[in-house]
Symmetry: C2
Subunit: 108 residues, 2 copies
Amino acid sequence: MRTEIPPGTLYMLILKALARFGPMHGYGIALHIQQTTEDVLVVEEGSLYPALQRMLVKDWVKAEWRQTENNRRARYYTLTPLGRKQLDTEIREFERVMTAIRRVIQPA
Amino acid sequence: MRTEIPPGTLYMLILKALARFGPMHGYGIALHIQQTTEDVLVVEEGSLYPALQRMLVKDWVKAEWRQTENNRRARYYTLTPLGRKQLDTEIREFERVMTAIRRVIQPA
DNA sequence: CCGCATACATAGGCAGACTATAGTAGCTTG
DNA sequence: CAAGCTACTATAGTCTGCCTATGTATGCGG
């Protein structure tokens, strides 16, 4: 059963994918997330590409048109230093909030 | 530093509070969540009361006007059987999604 | 050459939380 | 005993952020 991406986690997932594997194109990022989570998290195209555009503006990633292994045109995204910093921030914040939620739903 | 309630988790937090402590009024629920999470999660009034109204309609809770310990008028909410079932479902779903996210951000 | 997978992009919609505002009533303090 | 603070409920309107739907283009396998 697939789920929507929990609001607020999309940037983090994308940034992390780029941090792990270096430059990737959008389609590849989506595929990676879907496969890593065994289809639990599926990033729709209508979510992904607008998010990548916003990330370009924020200077979290930079983009470059290249050829894929399949000989197609694709836009490869690379994490910038600012993007890496953002990733750290988002992961820390995520952990903080999840810890808080656990305190409510799993009392000791 | 306080955070917004992650969208999709509000019902779960409210339901869990009622499951733990039995009937509570809205204000008490909000206070409980805030204190349990050491001010990380603060439920705004404009989030809480509309949520409780929706939960009444869905028959997850029932409500009853009573006096508080401080001798004030307040509306006490009680979990219904359907509400308890909903809580179980939401917690399971939450864990499933969090596990998926961890697979992406904390690769083994 | 047809169908499918790959790949990017945008417009518009909707859910769900927030901000702002409003009101009532009991306690507390000077 | 008046004023102000706290407890408590409630609603209208806004905004953020992901989704649905749609359109375009191209390479490869049968």
